[in-house]
């Protein structure tokens, strides 16, 4: 190995350092696995092989981090807590649906009446253009 590290070697070292930062720590102490992966790099002579090794270390660190997060979520979302959350969601959804059903909505009601009574629909012909507008009550008699 030359005294001056090459470009690939420098990138590999940076990646290995990143991997050791990403790897989850066991109780507040630095993970020995992070150090193990990082130090192994010094024993690899070829810079390109070292870079490939470092990329693998980053992958391993993110994999370990993902596993740790999934385990934490698994512990946090225990079955009783999940069941309670689901029940709460269903109750909220039912309450919302009930609220929507009881809410007075005048616009939609008048539209329904318009559609229901064809005499209230606009006349497409031009024959009654100058005739006064006639209002029809709900019972069908002209006012």
């Amino acid at each position: 190995m030359s005294a001056m590290p090459g470009r690939w070697r420098r990138i590999a070292v940076l990646l290995a350092q990143h991997a050791s930062r990403v790897l989850p720590r066991a109780r507040s102490a630095r993970s020995p696995w992070a150090e193990a992966m990082r130090r192994e790099l010094d024993y690899i002579e070829d810079d390109r092989v070292a870079l490939r090794w470092a990329i693998g270390c980053v992958t391993a660190s993110y994999t370990a981090q993902l596993v740790a997060v999934l385990r934490f979520c698994g512990r946090l979302l225990s079955r009783p807590l999940l069941a309670a959350g689901m029940l709460l969601s269903v109750a909220l959804a039912l309450a919302h649906a009930n609220d929507l059903a009881n809410r007075p909505d005048c616009r939609s009601r008048s539209n329904a009446e318009l559609i229901g009574d064809p005499r209230q629909a606009p006349n497409p012909s031009c024959s009654d253009r100058h005739q006064p507008v006639r209002f029809i009550a709900k019972d069908g008699l002209p006012q």
Partner: protein, 112 residues
């Protein structure tokens, strides 16, 4: 059907490598070269085996000055038992396959 733990192709290859050199401590890079596993696959496996108590690790002082200490690995007794069991299962599976092939060849020979 629940999946059997530590039964992936990569884990089996790793355990087989450990079993070949049961009494010696191995480095991560050596394991990678012998198993053909990349570091991204190898280290999660090593971590899992270590968590399960199937493998032990320690730091080795460097042979040459200027180099950092190195992490080395070896199977525990339970790890060795698992590796032997898997090797036996593998040998049985190969035996069954070759036996089936042999009987198939005999059958075809008898038919011919």
């Amino acid at each position: 059907m629940p999946r059997k733990p530590n039964n992936s192709r990569q884990t089996r290859a790793l355990l087989a490598t450990f079993l070949e050199r049961a009494q010696s401590w191995l480095h991560g890079y050596d394991l990678s070269k012998e198993t053909g596993l990349k570091s991204g696959t190898l280290y999660p496996l090593l971590m899992r085996l270590s968590e399960q108590g199937l493998m032990e690790s320690r730091w080795q002082e460097p042979e040459r000055p200027g180099l950092p200490p190195r992490h080395i690995y070896r199977l525990t007794s339970s790890g060795l038992a698992l590796a032997r069991e898997q090797a036996r299962e593998g040998a049985t599976a190969i035996g069954d396959t070759s036996g089936a092939n042999t009987s198939g060849a005999n059958t075809s020979g008898a038919l011919a």
